[in-house]
Amino acid sequence: MASPASELDAMVEAYSAAGGDKGSLASPGHASLIVSGNKLLGKSEADGVSIDAKGTPDGVDITISVEEGKDVGQVHLCIGMLQKKGRQLIRSHYIVGKNASVDFVSHCIFPNAERMQHLMDLDIRLSSGAKMSYRDEHIHSERGLVVKPRLRASIGENAQLIDEFKLVKGAVGELDLDYEVTQEKGSSCELLTKLYGKKNDRMRVKESLFLNGENASGTAKSRIVLKGSAKAEVLGEIEGNAPYTRGHVDCHEVVEGENAVAEAVPRIRVNNPLARITHEAAIGRINKKELETLMSRGLAEDEAVDFIVNGLLR
């Protein structure tokens, strides 16, 4: 087994090979956490951020708390496994105090995965007026793995959550994403999932928002590109349960592969006459006008497709 120090190097190397900024994992003044398998390879706290993390038989339990009123900037998380086979269960709790503000930049890295399972349970609690963003980028091997991110968030009054899950590097494998957010008065939430499925990748996405407090607003957005025989099912769900709540489901799936299959189901429900929820979905081939515009600038059709896809998944 590799020594922790060389394992750390290998993780950081994989992180940077995948386009991550090495320096950011150890930037002074910013909190960070590095986990490989069930081992804690690095942890640094910062003013206003406390990180409690301990290994379990098959993963790590993490609790990160941000102190009331503190704006702590970015917190970097690098979580992964370098092995070919295995299972990793990450249970994480994010607790953000009143009027505090934090931006998580997370990279989940599985560069060698062949038969691997990565289960991620996220429990997010934002107190009133808190602001949190959580940008999670997955970097996979060419074989992909089984990934199950499950998020439950409760957003307090006037608090704000921005969540982005991005898996466009390497193969997906099998993804089952299940996100559910409940929102109080005046809060806002943006969920965004970006996926690039190829070959036999299978993707299931469920983004649900429950707008329970007056004036709560949210969007459940997804951008998915499917090549080969990849399949994706997206459920975007929003309930407006209080006056003046506003929600929008926005799903865009581009089907490029001969045998690829995309499915989108919006489920919107309003049980208050002053609430308003909308949805839009576009699935199928790339918009003709976008394609022809680029071709009219001299791009060949496949170059134009790549250009549009890159933008969509950026």
């Binding site: 951008r223 006008k289 515009t293 071709m295 009219s296 001299g298 059709e301 890159n310 969509l312």
Partner: protein
């Protein structure tokens, strides 16, 4: 002077309706050639046929570019010859920065001066996305800058002033002249008489054909007098043309 673009007997149909009906037109090298016509006369259709967009193959007739028959060439092939189109309602591109969009023709594009040329501040706009967060007018300016960046030989501008506030039409006319200064020929589509005044020659499209040609001033007067209130879109009234 040789024609950079020649349309010979172009006919384009939707169902049983001839949108273009044996249209003949010559754009001379280096000229700004205005096509005027009321809403629904087929101006955008003509632009689409010239660019070779999907579904716009003419039923009959020929298109020549610099003497070469391009009637069956693909969009990309036409673009590579130097034919460019600035769309009346441009498409939006998620996740694509203005900077990148203006560099489609190569990374040596001078993005700041292109943006200034269309009256947009480079600091404010170079990093914005070419998506729905731009207003219609902003998007159209960026489209014009993008086409300018490509250094076209023939540029088709489909109502470049529509959606742009009146106060800024000066910027647009200056830009159109700039195309000409750079050696490009311009096919300028408009239904605005003021815009038409930058043209070296104005052709009037009606009933799927070019029915009258002349100098900008004279044509603008004619358009104002007869076309503006005309409800017979698609029916040419011969006596007016000669009057």
């Amino acid at each position: 002077m040789a024609g950079i673009l020649e349309a010979r007997g172009l006919t384009y149909r939707i169902g049983k309706k001839d949108i273009l009906n044996g249209l003949d037109l010559t754009i001379k090298k280096g000229e700004i050639h205005v096509i005027m016509g009321v809403n629904g006369t087929g101006k955008t259709t003509l632009a689409s046929v010239v660019m070779g967009l999907g579904g716009y193959q003419p039923a009959s007739g020929q298109l020549l570019f610099d003497g070469e028959d391009i009637t069956t060439l693909s969009i990309t092939e036409r673009a590579k010859l130097g034919i460019m189109l600035a769309w009346q309602i441009p498409a939006s591109f998620e996740g694509v920065a203005v900077r990148e969009y203006l560099s489609l023709g190569g990374s040596n594009a001078d993005v700041p001066s292109l943006l200034k040329m269309v009256g947009l501040s480079p600091q404010q706009y170079a990093g914005r996305f070419v998506d729905d967060s731009l207003s219609g007018g902003e998007r159209k300016r960026i489209e014009l800058a993008a086409v300018m960046a490509m250094k076209p030989k023939l540029v088709v501008l489909d109502e470049p002033d529509s959606g742009i506030d009146l106060a800024s039409t000066g910027t647009i006319t200056r830009l159109i002249r700039k195309f000409k200064e750079n050696g490009a020929s311009v096919l300028l589509i408009t239904h605005n008489e003021n815009m038409a005044s930058v043209g070296d020659i104005v052709s009037l499209l009606c009933g799927g054909k070019i029915v009258k040609q002349g100098k900008a001033r004279q044509m603008a007067r004619f358009f104002e007098k007869y076309c503006k209130g005309c409800e017979h879109v698609g029916k040419v009234e011969e006596e007016k043309l000669n009057g």
